[in-house]
């Protein structure tokens, strides 16, 4: 495949009798943000740790830019940047020391500009334990990208962050993608995955049960599209159950809400009805099923609560 940056083939990893990952295959293309989703124990962290060279796979092939993480760990260090879920820094290390320390081991000059971009300029001499959760996350990301790696691995990068910090990190991830960086993102946050990723793979009990773009995944499920309509005379309130593909409907304040299996047919019929009745459309909202709903559908079908 062209521009294939990360390639995983028939990858298996067990811990004693427990098979954490069972013959999974996927690839990530250049400049893509690829989401790895799954409930706890699905095998996300095991997959990432084998990619990062922290664990040895039992079988299968893993490559990042053609580098086998276990056979060539030295080469791997300069082509990946990793933001671990846990801190990974000593409490007494200052922001400046952290930048000097990791840059020195990557044989690259300290990238203080990244600290400025991350809003950590004034915190350069602050020790790690004195930083807020958001600042720690931003520092962790700054260190992961300071040596300008072509591939970044992010494990729950926004866990525990407030809305503003989360939005800031999303902005940085989008900038990185725009610059051609390939990102692999493990997250529990479905809204984040839906917003940020180009493609996702859903892992369940060590196997990929579904993959594709968030839009493709949500369109595959049995989820219903929510259509909310508000008209001037509220005539729809009196005509429940007269539209095609509608499985459920309800009235909420000024809106009539329909759940449809075929939103195209339902919306056409609704607009026609409003026109014929001489009513005026004030608001129409069509909301497709979310990735979270699709995820819950898959995990529930797989017996995971």
């Amino acid at each position: 495949m062209d521009n294939e940056i990360i390639s995983i083939k028939e990858f298996t990893k067990s811990y004693d009798d427990f098979v954490a990952v069972n013959k999974i295959n996927f690839s990530v293309k250049e400049g893509e943000i690829f989401g790895l989703l799954g409930p706890n124990g699905a095998g996300k962290t095991t997959t990432l740790e084998c990619l990062e060279g922290l664990r040895l796979p039992d079988s299968g092939e893993l490559h990042i830019l053609g580098v086998d993480p276990h056979r060539d760990p030295r080469k791997l260090r300069n082509i990946i940047g990793v933001q671990l879920q846990t801190s990974g820094l000593p409490d007494t290390m200052t922001v400046r020391e952290a930048m000097n320390f990791f840059s020195a081991y990557h044989a690259s000059p300290p990238n203080y500009e990244i600290l400025t971009r991350m809003g950590l300029d004034e915190k350069r001499d602050t020790q790690y334990h004195q930083l807020s959760t958001g600042q720690k996350r931003r520092l962790s990301l700054a260190l992961a990208i300071a040596h300008d790696p072509p591939v970044i691995i992010l494990d729950e990068p926004t866990a525990g962050l407030d809305v503003a910090s989360r939005s800031e990190l999303h902005g940085i991830m989008q900038e990185l993608r725009a610059g051609g960086t390939t990102i692999i993102l493990a997250t529990h946050d479905m809204a984040e995955a839906e917003k940020m990723t180009d493609r996702v793979a859903i892992l369940l009990r060590g196997q990929i049960v579904d993959s594709g773009s968030p839009r493709e995944l949500t369109s595959k499920g049995g989820g219903l599209t929510k259509i909310s309509v508000r008209t001037a005379a509220s005539l729809l309130h009196e005509h429940l159950g007269e539209f095609p593909a509608v499985t459920q409907q309800l009235i909420k304040e000024e809106y009539t809400i329909y759940y449809s299996t075929d939103p195209g047919a339902t919306v056409s019929a609704l607009l026609e009805f409003i026109k014929v009745q001489g009513d005026n459309l004030i608001d129409l909202r069509v909301e497709r099923p979310t990735l979270e709903e699709r995820f819950l559908e898959i995990t529930t079908a797989g017996g995971i609560q």
């Binding site: 801190s87 000593p90 020391e97 990791f102």
Partner: protein, 272 residues
């Protein structure tokens, strides 16, 4: 700045800015030294013979046996070593750089003791200053690697205390720091052959102070050197990046091999 200098600077500063490290690196050994200098010498003038070497060994043990292992365990348990590994920090640097910086703190305190013991407390000065410095460096190396080994094999802060005290307390009580080994009962002298500080004290007395010793001083030097190298090799072999990722399943009990040089030295001394 090179990776080594950046890493070393951080570790060295941590030895000063971290209150626990500051305590074991400086406050405890210098406070104990001052107390022994003022009180013990006044009570027992014979302690003037012991003050300089015993306080150097105490300072080194305080930094290396009490101070070095805990951060190694804390860093491993907090996932800091994982982060280091991902960023290309080699295992040798992870273990050796904190040990080197701890040894330097211990040598600074040892230097203060060397320069002040005689003028301040009338301690007996060594006959051979280069030998005093040499044995100090060797003792710091051996205890540094032993502290490293304790940090590597300990699974928690609690087990660090256990292993550290297993070396620390017998070293003070039986290693000749408080009472010269030659004055101990013969059975205790044999037992003290399993304690590293015994060899440090014997090397100090035999080579720096040119006195008669219970153990051959050159055998003591060889024992310290071999046990230091063995502790370094065992530390590297038993090192684990991550407590949840036991890729090397060798038992930490392998660390007991560190007793071998001391057992051999005791047997050699018995035969001689």
């Amino acid at each position: 700045m090179t990776a080594f200098s950046s890493h070393f600077l951080f570790e060295f500063k941590t030895g000063l800015r971290n209150s626990s490290a500051m305590l074991v690196n400086y406050l405890l050994p210098l406070g104990f030294y001052a107390a022994m200098g003022f009180v013990m010498v006044a009570i027992n003038p014979g302690f003037k013979d012991l003050l300089l070497p015993s306080m150097i060994v105490f300072a080194i043990m305080s930094s290396t046996i009490l101070g070095l292992p805990n951060p190694l365990v804390e860093y491993r348990e907090a996932g800091i070593f994982r982060s280091y590994k991902i960023n290309g920090v080699p295992a040798l640097s992870i273990l050796s750089i904190p040990a080197i910086s701890t040894i330097i703190h211990a040598l600074i305190v040892s230097g203060i003791i060397m320069l002040t013991a005689t003028p301040f407390f009338d301690a007996v000065a060594p006959q051979n200053w280069p030998a005093l410095v040499g044995v100090t460096l060797l003792t710091a190396f051996t205890f540094g690697t032993l502290g490293m080994l304790i940090g590597v094999i300990s699974s928690s802060a609690r087990s660090v205390v256990l292993w550290s005290q297993l070396i620390y307390l017998p070293s003070i009580l039986l290693g000749g720091l408080m009472i010269p080994t030659a004055m101990m009962p013969e059975s205790v002298q044999k037992l003290s052959g399993l304690i590293p500080s015994t060899y440090a004290m014997q090397a100090f007395f035999g080579l720096a102070f040119e006195q008669e010793t219970a153990f051959n001083p050159w055998l003591s030097v060889a024992t310290l050197l071999v046990s230091g190298i063995l502790a370094l090799v065992l530390s590297m072999y038993l090192f684990n990046w991550d407590s949840n990722n036991q890729t090397r399943k060798t038992s930490p009990l392998l660390a007991l091999l560190i007793l071998v040089p001391f057992i051999i030295a005791t047997l050699i001394d018995f035969v001689l």
